[in-house]
Symmetry: C2
Subunit: 869 residues, 2 copies
Amino acid sequence: MTSTIDPKAIGKPVRARRHVRTLTGYLPEVDATGKEHWPRGEEEVWQAGLRGVDQDVPSITKSIVNHVQTSLARQAYNLDDLGAYQAAALSVRDNLLVNWNETQLNYTRKNPKRAYYLSLEFLMGRTLDNALLNLGLKEQYRDGIKKLGFSVEDILDKERDAALGNGGLGRLAACYLDSGSSTELPLWGYGLRYKYGIFQQLISPEGNQLEAPDPWLDNQNPWELPRLDVTYEVRFYGHAERLSDSRGVWQGGQEVLAVAYDVMIPGYGTKNTNNLRLWESKPKRGFDLNSFNAGNYEAAVASSNSADAITSVLYPNDHTSFGKELRLKQQYFWTAASLADIIRRFKQQGKPLKELPDFVAIQLNDTHPTLAIPELMRILLDEEDLNWEQAWSIVTNVFFYTNHTVLPEALEKWPVPLIEHVLPRHLQIIYDINLFFLQAVERKFPGDRDRLARMSLIEEGQPKQVRMAHLAAIGSRKVNGVAELHSDLVRTTILKDFVEFEGSSKYSNVTNGITPRRWLDQCNPELSDLITKTLKLDKVVWLKDLTKLDGLLEFTEDAAFRKEWAAIKQRNKERLANYVQTTLGLTVRTDAMFDVQIKRLHEYKRQTLNILGVIHRYLTLKGQSPEERKKANPRVVFFAGKAAPAYYIAKLTIRLIVNVARVINADPDTKDYLQLYFLPDYSVSLAEVLIPASDISQHISTAGTEASGTSNMKFCLNGGLLLGTVDGANIEIAEEVGESNVFFFGHLTPAVEDLRYQHLYHPVPLEEKCPTLHRVLEQVSAGLFDDADIYEPLLNTIRQNDYYLLTDDFDSYIAALAMVDEAYADKEEWTKKSIRTTAKMGKFSSDRAILDYAESFWNIEPIPVTAKK
Amino acid sequence: MTSTIDPKAIGKPVRARRHVRTLTGYLPEVDATGKEHWPRGEEEVWQAGLRGVDQDVPSITKSIVNHVQTSLARQAYNLDDLGAYQAAALSVRDNLLVNWNETQLNYTRKNPKRAYYLSLEFLMGRTLDNALLNLGLKEQYRDGIKKLGFSVEDILDKERDAALGNGGLGRLAACYLDSGSSTELPLWGYGLRYKYGIFQQLISPEGNQLEAPDPWLDNQNPWELPRLDVTYEVRFYGHAERLSDSRGVWQGGQEVLAVAYDVMIPGYGTKNTNNLRLWESKPKRGFDLNSFNAGNYEAAVASSNSADAITSVLYPNDHTSFGKELRLKQQYFWTAASLADIIRRFKQQGKPLKELPDFVAIQLNDTHPTLAIPELMRILLDEEDLNWEQAWSIVTNVFFYTNHTVLPEALEKWPVPLIEHVLPRHLQIIYDINLFFLQAVERKFPGDRDRLARMSLIEEGQPKQVRMAHLAAIGSRKVNGVAELHSDLVRTTILKDFVEFEGSSKYSNVTNGITPRRWLDQCNPELSDLITKTLKLDKVVWLKDLTKLDGLLEFTEDAAFRKEWAAIKQRNKERLANYVQTTLGLTVRTDAMFDVQIKRLHEYKRQTLNILGVIHRYLTLKGQSPEERKKANPRVVFFAGKAAPAYYIAKLTIRLIVNVARVINADPDTKDYLQLYFLPDYSVSLAEVLIPASDISQHISTAGTEASGTSNMKFCLNGGLLLGTVDGANIEIAEEVGESNVFFFGHLTPAVEDLRYQHLYHPVPLEEKCPTLHRVLEQVSAGLFDDADIYEPLLNTIRQNDYYLLTDDFDSYIAALAMVDEAYADKEEWTKKSIRTTAKMGKFSSDRAILDYAESFWNIEPIPVTAKK
Ligand SMILES: Cc1ncc(COP(=O)(O)O)c(C=O)c1O
Ligand SMILES: Cc1ncc(COP(=O)(O)O)c(C=O)c1O
């Protein structure tokens, strides 16, 4: 044969790289004296072209204009706000890059232990404003952009949210990255680069939620660095064989390429700029002989497209998993690429693998990345030739697992046949882990078969299922919940057996936190300025040590200060009203109390309780004389939140809210005392407008169901008061600010089990048990808000069974609302409560949380970027 | 209702643009005195940031380093050749942009008539080298790149071909764009931005062609400018209704977004830099209520992906159309977006639509864009409210149609039911056009029903089909073929009736051309230098007036010149041998004649004739004594070319070539006299290496089947001699260089019909008709090249029927090959022929062709960019 080429050789580089890499794990070559020598070409020519961080306005405008002209191929004549945003963002990106490069090089030189945060969701929101804040260039950019004929506010407003998450879990990951950089920890995130983020929510005229895809990358994304040189091959399907000694081989199937996109995460008040690496799936270049039938071009193209599909869409489900093959492929694709990258970086140091736990800690954000456990076993056994004990000891010292829920329906399980099909080798390893584990349990609890069945990684049934939380727990060094109460529940309910077997020291708590940069300084700049002025501290000091807020307490009694405080709240309410006016064309009165509930729609979060409370208030007002009504506390109630597309009851709740709003807001009798708005398409950016405007916010989950909540912290940090149940982080907030400054109601967690038992075995008719609620439901059923029949399935969840205890909590909820009204009547006292609330939020900085992880879990230390070498 | 938003309003900009656009049709605002005023911000701040074209090495290296650091986020430490290519390309792009902006602004100011070249294929090849040449910065970049530690050759080699075409038709479009810019004509191209270009060809060890997708955009493409602000909506499916007066409405169905990507086309020796606009399909942002069932999120995502799919893949078929729905969608998507863009630009001038033909000429490259005719009718009738006569008169003065083939199987037809489904309104318009047209024909030829049936746009049958060539012909102002013979054939065969009806002046010819920048100066720099030196003309002069090559004739008798000439050919042969060595690991002898046939695999191109000729030579050599053999002219035969994936016979031909090569190259008796190579994955870049190395090239299509051919011109321009049939542009080449300098053989076009008739009705057994060929086929059948049976289907196309007349032409082909051998024996005379060939190629510059179109068809004039304002 003269003229063939080996298909496998296609696309392979002809020559090996001539130079060692630096940025992500390689170092410059050194000469005999230890001096680094310039790697390529003439050093002075290179140096002449390199840039530092822009400092003054002229260099900033020059850089923006250059991006307008070249990157965007536009001119002053045809530049709109979106274009100006893009050019400004690109110039900011260039500045971030300088710090990012320095940070990565510094880590490589110092070679510390690193931590990796594996999260299937990162709900980053917008970047530009945060980048400017963290670079310390906000003023300079404001000036420069003005000189170019634009306003910085208009430009910031053009950025599309990076909405790669469903809700709290994803936003938590984003806050932790911000804190990781700000506290100078060597912490990287790993996630997926979804082509479509969380769906865009639209509300039809009838009140139905419609979901539209969110092609957020359409306008190009200035914040990512495509790293086309960082790729890994990931296998699916195929055939696994066991070899001797727990080893195996896995071959055939589909091979897909993971390509890295890096997102720079600048720290506040430091040069440290960490990395969030997101993986995109791509077909293998050229010819993937495994993936398709060679010789069929259309099939080849289809196979290429099916590789693209893996990272196409973020699953829009919160607290539910659906056993979808593509979702399993996402999870494996992401964990396999991330582990390959982590191990490559570790190996560059030339250390033996048994030292991996001394250099690497991997946090599993919920069970989504749990396949990392069998995947690391596979690598160590099949590729690195370690034996089972060595491998298992490495694995269980590298991983850490955060549990985010104890709701039974939210615990991830995968059907055994599906895993067998997609990941045949991993199923073998899971079975082996299970066997060794159960043997150990049996040694400690001989003959306790129930216990063995409860603890097994495999749940019996048709089909059998793999319990991911069990796998995550036994494969990790430590396990934590996300608030004190929740961690207790983890230890005493879903993982009780494991605590008994492994001891309680492994099962710990880290209460969630939020970044005060975004959630105070950025979203509420006036309040931030007032705090800085009042505390007489540089902003950078208290934003990095949030307990300093404590210093506000002494100003509670300062009337002038209170006036400023209240005036800022008022302006934030007007900002929100203005937003509603421009986006929805609706006029909100701003002299009323703003009462806000914004979060995913879910029965356990009980938006239903809130809307039924609103109806109750409406009926009460309707029953009053005009004179009586005049005494009412005027309220504007805001809802926002998305429902999972397949979550019928949650969507019905939205529909009810929308239709109640239609009736109430149009009723001349009541509209001065009660307004109601459902703001569509809840997002981080919308939260940033809503949260600073809230007088009171509602966090009213059935006790024991909300693991922590983080929006509660955000409201309180912005001086909004909290109305809530004794659940999640509400409890710790109350501990901090004092019970007299929060409004609590409802049954406590220990009572829940028993109440549910009563519902089932000793039901009491609603009209007896809770006549007020009964009256409300009757009105809905009677068609007061149109659509008489349509709400029956929603109402029936309350009338029958009532799993989330609305009938038990309704009366105390109404009472709590009345207490809120009463408290709000005394505006001075209310403002004092508001100041006290903000003042005591120091604990809830995500800096505290991330340092807690760093110290008590990962054992990593801050590695500040030192002066430029 | 308080809280709903209109789904249709989503994604619409809140405010209108504040500033008028410039680049593609808008002008700066002027003040009362007529002075343009600065549109935005402070003029001096803007000016301080703007750049011109780099001129010196330091500014070039600075720009490259800046791109390494920022655009690529890399450093000197981790930069490989690919990275260096990307950085250099980005810096070149910045320079091109300056000229591109000036050119577009200049067109807008001058407002001349413009021409648009609509082509479904643009086979651009690589860009960097051409851009450097046309910018006049080749030397400066060579120096700068060297200072940075890289070599310009290595870097050029990293560019991936833009292979958005199948072959000649697409490469012609690319040459025409180069010539349009170089001759300073206001000419834009419109095409599609396929995600996958023409497939990558691999050859399996057995000799089978395998096709792999070509994801050419994977490494990002520095040569395109995404214009996310230039988008149009394109509709498919839905429902069409007729209104009064030939008007109609078309509603519903799927709406897809076309996004523009601009590719800059620099002219040589001028600042003029035209534009090639490629469309990408995207889902409509947000909510396309028409496209899917609202409320089903998975369906919504699937629908988004189906919008992406439209421009996913270039159809890999040459001269065949398959009636695929997606292909029809591609054609309509592209013509609709292009027309919308053209009309928007025209309307900016505020002129009435009846003046459209005074400002716009649109060339239809083959029938692929023929839907532009009913689409423009639809716009004028349904959207612009013109009547039928006005609309038809505009249409028939705007369009021009180039026919590329008279092969019956290559004439595009679309099933009526398919068009009705995808484009219901267009089918109505096509029926109307047909009716009015046939009525006119009937008036001229009353009662001639056969004629009406032949000329109808609709071919009867099951299903009925729309004849696109007929529609293109009657909807255009002029029609041309691509070489004299071919244009004659168009007039006398497929469009004979139309010539009789409309008169012959509408049916014209423009012989194809090639750009001498790429096909001489870039691919054969030594020869270019020798020519410059010899002609004593600045390179820019003769490269822009190729007839100057004529001046070489007088040096034919100059022995020193001939020596240099031959030495260059020899070095080009060595360059090719080196390429084969590095890419395939095979050693080619360079002291033999290089005999090349490179083009798509197709029965009409008769690669089979060539390979059977090779076998015949092999058998002859085998039959000779070693002494006799020593007298043979040593030959190395090269093949390259792709076969359409579904074209069984063409793929079998490749397999035969590969297996013959295996046997021949290993045969110790003959390998010093005959070598054979099939080079995989033919491409523009491979052509650039092969063409300058050829002593003789083969263009041996059955007479009357190859419309023109352009590779024949390329070989001859590089001093390669031509062995061919009396077909296409071969004839005109022979006219120019004189018959004594080319090698012609085979039957002539007028004989073909008759020979085919004889084959069918008076077949003569092969052993009688052509015993030499018979013997060759017998050997193949007998398994001399393995796979005894496998070639039977291929051999049977010759034994039975022999549609392409191999049996008729084989003997004269062998005789011609012998003449070539004989001529080559006299090296001095051969070199003279070579010089004479190059010298007489002036006619075949695509500059000549494009100026011909400009003058005789489009009526447009050069609009040079004048000094910077
Ligand atoms: C967009 C978004 N979704 C969800 C959440 C989490 O909200 P909660 O803690 O109320 O569940 C937040 C937190 O502010 C958020 O910004
Ligand atoms: C890649 C490629 N394909 C096809 C062609 C057209 O070849 P021909 O004119 O021989 O059909 C050319 C012309 O050189 C080419 O470069």
